[in-house]
């Protein structure tokens, strides 16, 4: 493989990896607060992508076709609606089980995942849907690398959302309350923090990030399919674990790592090997660093 091809594969991997990172953010934030892998996240990602197609098409009918405002409006509306859906998921599938053994909410979140993708399939039929092309397809030449302007924007939009979320959690008062709730839920309640509301908020933010990922994916690759939530959800879960589950920057690092790895795998081997390679490397990384790349064993509660 030439250097040019190598760089090109890295660039492609970073673009798709940034989308995985956004989905992973939802897994990792919810896990950080309630120690639950919310498998519904893959379904929320898919629902977000389909809401995106719907609103894009709707706006096209009303003559709003300028790409940037259309993308922004679609993002805001779909993220809000998907966030609301995540709120319902928390109410229905998590809250009634919060004092149950951990396996119970895990299974109910898996049930939610299948429910969401089944609903998408029933409502839209099993046919793939096409995203309207938003930007001119003329490729950009960045030194030896060729990228579409869309994928460049996707990459930066995803990074911007992740960094924004990280700053929100680090700097704002609500973000501090989220970290306090994650560190010690009872003690957070003793500070006057309504931890039930913080849990809801975390699900909502995670769902909104998943929706953003779904739309960015659709805009970049042009089609969405009813089973995209399965692969996307599983790979992003891998990314979250690889980066260090519960760790917000870890979601980004894990996402980009998985993206680049799967991009390499598809260069050297037939496509069918893609997932096998990604998961083999996951096992390898976890064997060396069980806490993930950025995960840390914190000396808590001396």
């Amino acid at each position: 493989m030439s250097l040019q091809e190598l760089l090109q594969q890295i660039a492609n991997g970073l673009v798709v990896g940034s989308v995985y990172g956004l989905i992973a953010l939802g897994y990792t934030m919810v896990y950080g607060i309630v120690r639950l892998i919310n498998f519904a996240q893959g379904g929320l990602y898919e629902v977000g992508a389909y809401l995106g197609v719907f609103f894009f098409t709707l706006m096209g009918k009303f003559g709003l076709q300028y790409p940037i405002p259309a993308v922004l409006i679609t993002l805001v509306i779909s993220m809000t609606l998907t966030g609301a859906l995540a709120f319902v998921v928390e109410r229905v599938a998590y809250r009634p089980l919060r004092n149950a053994p951990l396996l119970a909410p895990l299974v109910s979140s898996l049930a939610m995942f299948f429910l969401l993708i089944s609903v998408v399939q029933v409502v839209t039929g099993a046919e793939p849907l096409t995203y309207p092309s938003v930007l001119s397809p003329a490729p950009l030449h960045l030194g030896p690398i060729v990228l579409s302007p869309t994928s460049l924007i996707i990459f930066f939009a995803a990074i911007l959302l992740m960094v924004g979320m990280q700053q929100f959690v680090r700097r704002t008062k609500v973000g501090k309350a989220m970290r306090a709730t994650a560190a010690n839920r009872e003690a957070a309640a003793l500070m006057g923090i309504n931890t039930t509301r913080i849990v809801s908020l975390t699900f909502v933010l995670g769902g909104a990030m998943g929706a953003a990922a779904g739309i960015l994916y659709g805009v970049n690759y042009g089609t969405v399919t009813y089973d995209m939530g399965e692969f996307g959800g599983l790979v992003a879960f891998t990314a979250a674990v690889m980066g260090g589950i519960g760790n917000v920057p870890g979601a980004l690092v894990g996402g980009l790592t998985v993206g680049v790895l799967s991009s390499f795998a598809s260069t050297f081997l037939p496509n069918q090997w893609n997932e096998a390679i990604v998961f083999a490397i996951l096992i390898l990384i976890l064997a060396i660093r069980p806490q993930g790349i950025l995960g840390e064993r914190v000396a808590e509660r001396a």
Binding site: K176, N184, A187, L190, T195, R301, A302
Partner: protein
């Protein structure tokens, strides 16, 4: 009218009745201690008052408000602060963030004043505000938990086993600070395994056995009580300290 009135409080964990209908009061500015062996129901009582565990019966009145069964964050906002057993500081957050979270429900300016006052009580934290709470020693964590509770500007401070697992010299420091807090007019409800220390700082006490109050009185009368001396102070009449 008492600041805190607990009547016929019952707490149950599954099939286990941890507290079997106890009643007690804490007056404004007073330090009261609850004594008893492990499993007597002391911690369960504090947790029920703080709203961490819903009582199965009885009532808790704070000031003029009935707070029985309210969620913990509402009770905290009404002016009751619990320093829980085992400190429970936010280990992954800095000292500054831990203290600021104590002032979570207050305005930024009130929070700034409270932070200055708390740093006046615990000057050692001033230089180390950026240190992670999880890296502190047990005694430092206890002080941080106490400082964090004071940041909430409580009218009633409840402390669950503040000296547990601490070296005697550190425990002495904690009790010194506790005496100052009582002196400043904040009411304190104290659960403490070291009965002697507890009765030095408290003015009154209740003795719990198997979830029931078996004895109550002033600190002096409890210190002189034969049952207390034998069961909790580990010596009989006339024995030296």
């Amino acid at each position: 009218m008492s600041l805190l009135r607990v009547s016929d409080l019952r707490v149950r964990y599954g099939a286990i009745q941890a507290v079997r209908g106890i009643s007690f009061q804490v007056e404004e500015g007073e330090c009261v201690t609850i004594l008893g062996a492990n499993g007597a129901g002391k911690s369960s009582t504090l947790r029920a008052v703080a709203g961490l565990h819903r009582p199965s019966g009885g009532s808790v009145t704070f000031g003029s408000q009935v707070v029985t069964g309210e969620p913990a964050h509402r009770i905290a906002r009404s002016g009751i602060s619990l320093v829980p057993e085992g400190r429970q500081v936010f280990g992954t957050l800095t000292i500054r963030e831990n203290l600021e979270l104590g002032g979570y429900v207050q305005s930024a300016s009130a929070n700034g004043e409270a932070l200055e006052r708390v740093l006046g009580i615990f000057p050692a934290f001033r230089q180390r505000l950026g240190a992670l709470a999880g890296t502190l020693s047990g005694g430092e964590q206890q002080m941080l938990a106490l400082g964090r509770a004071l940041m909430t500007r409580p009218r009633l401070l409840m402390m669950d086993e503040p000296s547990l697992g601490l070296a005697p010299i550190v425990a002495n420091q904690i009790f010194g600070i506790l005496t100052e807090i009582v002196g400043s007019g904040i009411a304190v409800l104290l659960v403490e395994q070291n009965v002697h220390r507890a009765l030095q700082v408290a003015s009154r006490g209740y003795v719990l056995e198997l979830g029931e109050v078996v004895l109550e009185g002033t600190a002096a009368s409890l210190l002189a009580d034969d049952h207390v001396r034998l069961a909790y102070l580990g010596h009989g009449m006339g024995e030296a300290e």
